[in-house]
Symmetry: C2
Subunit: 221 residues, 2 copies
DNA sequence: GCTTGTTTCTGTACGTGTAAGAAAAATAGC
DNA sequence: GCTATTTTTCTTACACGTACAGAAACAAGC
């Protein structure tokens, strides 16, 4: 009677804080005061512990943010009705992921995770892979296709987000502008001709166009 | 005589260190001891100054690395003979940029610059834009096309590089593996079926396939 | 001379994160 | 029952990047 259901206390020093404490408090700080206010020291103080103790429950701040993202995605990433046409389903699922991530300000540092493996996002990944398969790709090529879409999506968000942040912070004109200012039209005619419109073109949101092109290309091969 | 050519000393406290000092010393440290050894504190000590003094000549460490990258690119990014066919020229130019960046270990942190605006790289950008235009795109669409290629390329390098670094550092199995271990085949049949092959497929290098697909798609539209 | 303005540099403090080891419990041997 | 061992958790010390607030060093104007 006692041997199977005994709680069997764990050995070792008992924990004073739990991962749930950490995530919960972190979420509260982020929602109440914004992501910039979330520091490991602040979090530790709030919990009543020391900064380094947190690192026993969470590998680093990035993992903490990833867990917060998971939490966030679970509540905001609802499964929309997807189109029947498989190609369009791929596009819509990718856009759904993209938009949630692009709207979430603190993720930038997390995006380099080598997949978007939030449990909440898996369903979208499934839709993408499935759509590609239904369009005639082998399962292997479908997975590779999904990865290409992920590279493109992560790159777009990362590049745009950091560019925007720099534009907001910087007093100096961008390094690029100075480079573009004195282009040699003899050597780089295309760039020279577009130089004054480059910034404006760069700001335009062409995620969807690029995504469509990528999906078209993946299915054409 | 004296009013036009007078050196006209600059006002303000004279600088004791120059940007060139900084970049030169940084390059020496990186080539002699590797990029990890390059810290702002170390660099300052080597130059005979204080860490914060560096920040008057360089915005942050990222800009310093970008300048080093520029320097590096100028010497290693030689202009290859490109194919005549414009579409292939786009692909080859993109691959050239990609390969140099992927081989350069310290760039990962710099890649989120919203363009690859090393002077040395501009020629490749020109080739890509030009190739796209010659394939029939308008100059505007060509610039957007180049950007899509850049998103895809930067995303690929970033995601793969950080994934590789994590694999090297980590003792724990990836978070993803744990997620994939218990997938519900009823809900996510495609993923469940590929679960045990996912890691292996993810490691494969499919940059070129994805790039070709993207270029094809950009030109088909 | 002294003041003003401009530029450069320093000092301090706060952010993340690594490494080494102390502290607190369960367990094993006596 | 009492120590020794082992396992897990937490602490201390330190290295890193960098924001911020002056101080320091010069030219020009009074």
């Amino acid at each position: 009677m006692s041997h199977s259901s005994a709680p069997r206390k764990a050995p070792g020093r008992p924990a004073r804080i739990s991962r749930e404490d950490i995530i919960g408090t972190a979420r509260r700080i982020v929602t109440e005061e914004g992501a910039d206010r979330l520091t490991m020291r602040r979090l530790a103080k709030e919990i009543g512990s020391t900064p380094m103790a947190l690192y026993h429950h969470v590998r680093d701040k990035e993992e903490l943010l990833l867990l917060l993202l998971d939490d966030y995605a679970e509540r905001t990433l609802h499964r929309p009705a997807l189109p029947d046409q498989p190609r369009e389903r791929v596009v819509v699922a990718a856009v759904a992921i993209h938009d949630v991530l692009a709207a979430c300000p603190w993720i930038v540092e997390v995006l380099t995770a080598d997949d978007l493996m939030s449990t909440a996002a898996l369903w979208f990944v499934e839709q993408i892979v499935d759509g590609l398969v239904e369009c005639g790709l082998t399962p292997e090529r479908a997975v590779h296709g999904y990865r290409a879409i992920w590279y493109y999506t992560a790159g777009e968000i990362l590049v745009r987000a950091t560019a925007a942040r720099r534009r907001a912070t910087d007093d100096q004109p961008a390094y690029r502008d100075r480079v573009f200012a004195d282009l040699d039209p003899g050597e780089l005619p295309r760039l020279a001709r577009m130089a004054d419109r480059w910034a404006e073109l760069t700001v335009e949101d062409t995620y969807l166009d690029g995504l469509r092109a990528l999906v078209d290309g993946l299915l054409a091969g």
